[in-house]
Structure formats: C-alpha cells, structure tokens
Point group: C2
Chain length 462, copies 2
C-alpha cells in the first residue's frame, strides 16, 4: 500500500470552510426562476414567506454572491459531525487492479447516516434565529427526517415530521430515531391536514407518497403561527449548504496537489451531487478546469437520462411553485421495488441546468449492479454504503475498470453520501437473490409526462 | 464555546500506535492463570492450541512484554476505521453547566458500530497468517459477529457465526449485515453440533444463550480442520488489542497537556474498559499517576459490585478453561428485560484482578437512568449511543454534576464504545415508557453462585 497520500484525510477545525459556495454566481443567468403557478410569474420573496424561513429565501434567490458566510453557531454544530473524511480508496483500487486513483468523501458518519445533516443544521438554525417555535417537513426513506430531528433538538425547536405511511411501517426504527430526538412523527396521509383528509377520502388504503407528505407539511406550516416548512433537497439553498462537501474535498485534495479528472455523485433530488461538485463546477464555468462531472441515477427513476426539461411541480399534489427541471412528471411513481431514495420525479434546477448546458454527464444504473458494487465496496473498504450512495460506487468502479482496460491513470472523486444501516431489508433481498431490476417502459414514461403542467412557460418544451 | 482544544482530535496516520500495550507487564504476578478444568492445573499452550490461533495464545500467556508490535497488515486495516476521534464534549458540558472537562473516545464510526473491530482485525489476521481457512465464533447482540464478518471478508477467511437464536430473530438486520459480508449465520442452538443437539433435545423451545453458542463454536473449531475459534471479549489478548483505544486517547490528550482525573468505561466482558484504561493503568501501577478508574455495569448484571471473585467457567455449558474473575456464576441468566450487551456473567480476569487489588472502582446503574443519559447525550452531542456505551455516559454525567455541586474542575475521559442504530427496539421501550429496571434479588444471585464450580482452586473463595 503506497501511503504518500494517507488513507483518510481530515481537515483541522481551523481549516473547515467558513463560507458556503454558491455556484449560481458563475452560471450565466443562473437557472430559470421558480414560477408562481397561479400567476405564471417568477416567485417573489413574499410568495415564499408563508412557507420558508426568510434567510433561506434570501439564499434561494441569491444568484450573485460566490461565497455566503456560514454563521458561527452552524459551524459549531458542524463540528459535531464534520469535517468528514476524504478517503483514498486504496483497498478498492487494489481489488480492481486499476491504475486509477480513487477518492471518496464520506458523509455518513453521523446519526442521520447521510449528508442531509449539512442542510438540516443550517435550516434549523435560521428558523431559530428568526424566532420561530417550530418547523415541519416530510420524510420518505427517513434520512432527512432524522437529520432534521437532530438539528431541531440541538437548537431547541419543535418539529413535526410527516413520514410516508408505508415508510413509517416498513422502517419503524427510522421513526424511532426521530422520536428519540424529540420530534413528532405523523404517518402521512393523516387526518391532521386538509390535504391528508382529501387523499384519505379518495384512497382510504393508500400507503402515502412523498408528494402527499410534502403537501401536508406545507399546509401545516401555512396554518401554524411561528412555524415554517423546510425541505431536504432540490432547492438552491439546500445545494448551497451541501457545498461544504465539495469545499472540504477540494481543500483536502489540494494538500496533495490533486485535481480530480472525474467527479461522480448519485442524484435523486440532486443536493449531494450539487454540493459535491459546486466549487469545482464554479471553476469549470470560468474555464479553469476540464473536469468531467457525472450524475448517477437509478434506471428505475431516470429523470436526467429519460426525462423532459420543463417547468413542473415539485410535489405530486401540485401545491408548490413550478421549477424548471428535468422531470418524469410530478405524477410519475417510481416502482416500489427500488430500494432506498433517489425516487424523486424531478431534479434540482441547478443540476438540471448544468446538465442541459452540457457541463454534466448522466448515467443510469440497474439496482442489482448497484448492490454488486455495494457489497464489493463493503468487503474491501469496510463501510456498508446506503443504496443511494452505491449508485456512485457502481459508476466509479466502471470508470476505474475502463482505466484498467485503457491503461489510463485518472483521479476519480466520488461522494459516499451515507450508510446502509437502515436499508438492510434491501440488502436482504440482494443476499436472497430476490431483487429485481425494474425499468420503466416508454408507456410508463408517457403517462408520467402527461402530468407535467401545460402552461405558457412550457410552450415548445413538451 | 472555548475552542483552544478542538471539538474533535484525530491523530494522523503516522501518529497511530505501532504497538499494543500489555498492562500485565506491570501487574505483580499478573492475574491468576487459567486452569484446565479436567486437571485443575494451569492451562498450557498445548491445551489451547486446538481452539485458538497460535499467536493469540502467545499473547494470552504473555505477562512480561509491555509493548507488542502491531503487524503492518493490521495497521493498514485499522486505517479503514481508525484513528477514532477523541472528542471534547463541549455541548454536554454546556448543558450540564459543569466546571468539569469531559472527553470521550468514540469507537462507533465503523460498520460494526463498536470497538469490537479492533480485536476482530487482529484475530482474523493471525488466523490467516497461520494458514487457516476458516474461523468461527458466537454473537449475542451482534456487534462482535458483525466486526468479525468484516475482518474475515477483508482477509479472505470463511466465517461461521453462531448467533443466539432469539437475537437472530429479534435482530434480523444484524444477521443481514453479517451475511452481506459473506459470513454464514447459524441460529444457536443448532443441529450442526453435538452441544446444540443436546440442548435442543432437552429444551426444544429454547431461544438459546451466549453460553450455548460459545459451546457450539468451540466444538465446531475443534472438529474442523484448519479452523479456529475466536472470542470478542474477556480474554487477555482481546484486551491487548483493545489497548489501541487507550493509547490513541492518551496520545491525543497529551497534545493538550491533559491527564484525566477520572477514566470511565462500561463493563460487560471488560474488553473496552480494559483497553481504554490500560496505558494509564500501567503508569498507575508504577506509581506515576493517581487517576481514578471507574467500571460501570448494569444493575441487572452486577458482576463486579455483587459478584464473587472465584474460578469459574467462561461459558454456561462449562466447556471452557476456568478463569479467576468476578462472576455471578456461569449459570446466572440476566433478565431479558435488559437492553443490549453487558449481559455476561463474568468479567475479564485482568479487570477483575485490578478491581480486587483496589485500582478500579465499580458502580452499577439502572436501565432507565442509562437511557435518560443516552437521550440527553444524543440531543446535544449528536451521536445516538449504544445502550452499553450509555452506561459510561450515565456515570460521566453523575460525576460532572458532582463537580458542579462541589465547584471542582476535573478532567473526565470516558469510552463511547458504539452506536445504538441496531438497538432501537430498546429506545422504543424507553420512548414508550415501557422500560423496566429489573435488579436481581439476593435469591437470584444465590442461585447463580451455586453454579460456580466447587473445585480446589475455589477453596475459601465461595
């Protein structure tokens, strides 16, 4: 084992970033604005105020400042789980017998088991600073709900989590972690909101959906004094908070004079990928590097590789602003056979725009190939990856094997967003060889596309 | 937040210990030797060879060398999960409003979720080096089985894990992690061994016990060519491997000129506590410090605080050598209401001797008090602790509150051995307020003591 570069690199606390990186500062015209579906006009700060915290709205609408300072209180909370390690995957390289150098940024060493805590910490802090008493959100796989419950406990905020009912039943221990941190878990659809009651009247047996849970949480925020809604992915301010992943990776790699040739991240809503690539992408947009950026999505929910670039709702209940993004249609339902997250119909508008403009490549991978990669990785590098993260591992292994075949030495950086400790039902399927590789048919996609709104902004796009 | 001392301290890879610390080198006459129950005489290397790896036996019987080198291959594997962080618990200090300085060494940042991997890495390596094809062990709560499956996968060894049947049913996901790393999980008692079949004939409905699983694994090792048995706690060589916890803690604290006034660890079999304290205890035995060492055990299984210091079997099936230790009797069955590990009837002979000689203080704590401490800790420090580890947190909080009352500034170091991600059924009991605080009656203890063997070596001790 050559160890000029250590296996793990931790920045010191003094070296931790003091600002987030706002990649929009270098995106020409940034991405297209959110539209108010009632008026068809760009959302104003006022449109968003009843739902989101003021500071998050300012960040959402900030297309000009390259760096935005991280308040000291957030930096202090970050110290409980950051800096995260940048790992040189010596053992994976050895087993692949590849000339490639593989690095990964591991964001799973915290109780939420994922990178979600980076934005939860920030959003809970801003809610507290604004003098709010409570926040509310939805959770599907449960990582975001856990992360937010930790942040809410830390800052002393009340939290209501609308948890997709089928998730809360299939993952009772995820629910229990959230409860342990003092948050209130409400299986969705619930009787506590008009949106929930409407769904229950129409589909009494439903197991719920992320779209419905979002609608319930938004309604709760709008109807509760001193309460706001927070979201764990997709939005620009979430990507901003996640830029700490890329900034730390870059600072660590620069110690060894390494600039990656390829950066690979899994993409569901896009927050991890966006955060990982943003400082490098900022340089790329200025012509300062020629890094290849790769988004990896599941073949079962292929928003970038098979979706349309159009204005769509962020939720399936059609209550949110319209975002210009790659989407399978807000009514697209990914197969329940797909493990873990990455089940979102759309994609972060920032990531979508970068992809549309050719700065980002996208690949889709099948579930069983993803778990092959996950288990190989676990056995040599120790960490049991989350199924989401394993999408990036799959693409990394493929890239490294290509390097071997071509005899090329590349530096590959990928984001290992989290651990699979709460995904063992999926690993059991894999171990039992009962996992399937569902891929939507063209007809499935057509039905999804029909749910994209036919508004003026979409003229010529559909 | 005063940050002269960082929140987290990681040693660099160059600073990681290159040798383990053998505290027995400074224990006068070390502890009393293991006895062969058939002859009543001290166990020889030959007695142990059919069961244990040669190198582990050498380490087990080594009472003289203060330092034992860690082979390079093990140090490389250690890099996948070490160095572990030494954390200054600023947020816990703040919430307790205590003048005490609190530090903890966090060993939970690996897939096994505990410190067990420190010894699993070593024992699997030595088995491989000896040219063995397979190893076997037992697991109860599952941390040790997971750790060993990781190490076996890393070194390419076949592994059979006898998992207490009730655990394998109650913790299916623990079983699944072990399977994912390629090991074979056998619910115990099983039909695969004579010991298992005997138990099944006598108690067809039994959920199994750690004692029975040990007997099955030992039998399997004895009857399988090129296979040995490995154990995750209690034995001297396991404590030796765990000394890396104490060595790293000491190296990190010495950077800031800090010597702890008190060192606190939870104690089940004693490997974590023994490893944490060993380098400090070595100095104490040489009169170089006056540190107070505290073992924290559950009130439901109080081997140090209410047990007898006598020769006893290490397993309930009475197949192992006799160890001189604090014991509740090898037939003592802790209440099933007790969450997590720390359910062992005995205690590491090294820890027992140190306690007997007055170098170590022991306290017992009740389960609900332990979970009160766990949840307080999780909310301010972020980490959801394993129930075992939370015993040390309880005692640390009590010590810190005493410091506040007395206006005394002490430096407290405790061992945070692992995470509670697989213990959420216990947290659910706590959240639902259905947890109970069982403490064995004098009559329960009397029945346990009757199972301690009445042999010559125990004359005058019972």
């Amino acid at each position: 084992m050559a160890t000029k570069i250590p296996y793990k690199t931790y920045l010191t606390e003094e070296e931790m970033p003091r600002s987030w990186y706002n990649v929009k500062a270098h995106m020409k015209g940034a991405h297209d604005p959110f539209l108010n579906p009632a008026t068809g006009k760009p959302c104003t700060k006022e449109d968003l105020r009843a739902v989101f915290c003021d500071e998050c709205i300012d960040q959402e609408l900030n297309n000009t400042d390259e760096y935005i300072e991280i308040p000291e209180d957030i930096r202090n909370f970050y110290k409980t789980f950051r800096p995260s390690p940048l790992v040189r995957a010596y053992f994976l390289e050895r087993i692949l017998d590849t000339p490639a150098e593989i690095y990964y940024k591991f964001e799973g060493n915290n109780t939420s088991g994922s990178h979600k805590l980076n934005s939860a910490a920030a959003q809970a802090y801003y809610a507290k600073k604004q003098g709010l008493r409570s926040i509310t959100t939805e959770t599907g796989a449960g990582q975001w709900g856990t992360a937010l419950s930790m942040a809410a406990a830390f800052y002393g905020l009340q939290l209501d989590v609308f948890m997709v009912k089928v998730s809360s039943e299939q993952k009772p221990y995820r629910k229990e972690v959230i409860r342990t941190y003092g948050a209130n878990v409400i299986p969705s659809p619930s009787e506590t909101t008009e949106a929930g009651r409407r769904i229950l009247r129409e589909f009494p047996e439903t197991g719920g959906s992320l779209g419905c849970a979002i609608s319930e949480a938004v309604e709760k925020a709008q109807n509760t004094p001193s309460c706001r809604y927070v979201l764990g992915s997709v939005l620009d301010h979430v990507l901003l908070h996640q830029s700490i992943i890329g900034l730390e990776s870059k600072a660590a790699l620069e110690k060894y004079g390494v600039t990656p040739d390829v950066i690979i991240g899994c993409a569901g809503g896009g927050s991890n990928l966006g955060g990982l690539i943003s400082p490098y992408m900022g340089e790329r947009l200025q012509g300062k590097n020629q890094i290849e950026f790769v988004a990896v999505e599941p073949a079962s929910c292929p928003s970038l590789t098979r979706g349309k670039y159009a204005y769509d709702f962020c939720d399936s209940a059609k209550t949110t602003p319209l975002a210009k993004m790659y989407t399978l249609g807000c009514g697209f339902m990914p197969s329940p056979s797909h493990a873990g997250g990455l089940r979102y119909h759309g994609m972060s508008p920032i990531v979508s725009r970068l992809y549309h403009d050719g700065y980002l490549r996208a690949v889709s991978v099948k579930q069983s190939d993803v778990f092959d990669a996950a288990v190989l990785f676990a056995k040599c590098e120790g960490i049991l990856p989350a199924p989401e993260s394993a999408h990036a591992i799959r693409a990394t292994i493929d890239e490294a094997l290509k390097c071997r075949k071509e005899g090329r030495k590349k530096s590959i950086l990928f984001g290992l967003t989290g651990t699979g400790y709460f995904d063992l039902a999926a690993y059991k399927q894999y171990n039992d060889k009962t996992m399937n590789d569902y891929v939507p048919t063209d007809e499935d996609l057509r039905r999804g596309f029909e749910t994209i709104p036919k508004c003026a902004a979409n003229d010529g796009l559909l």
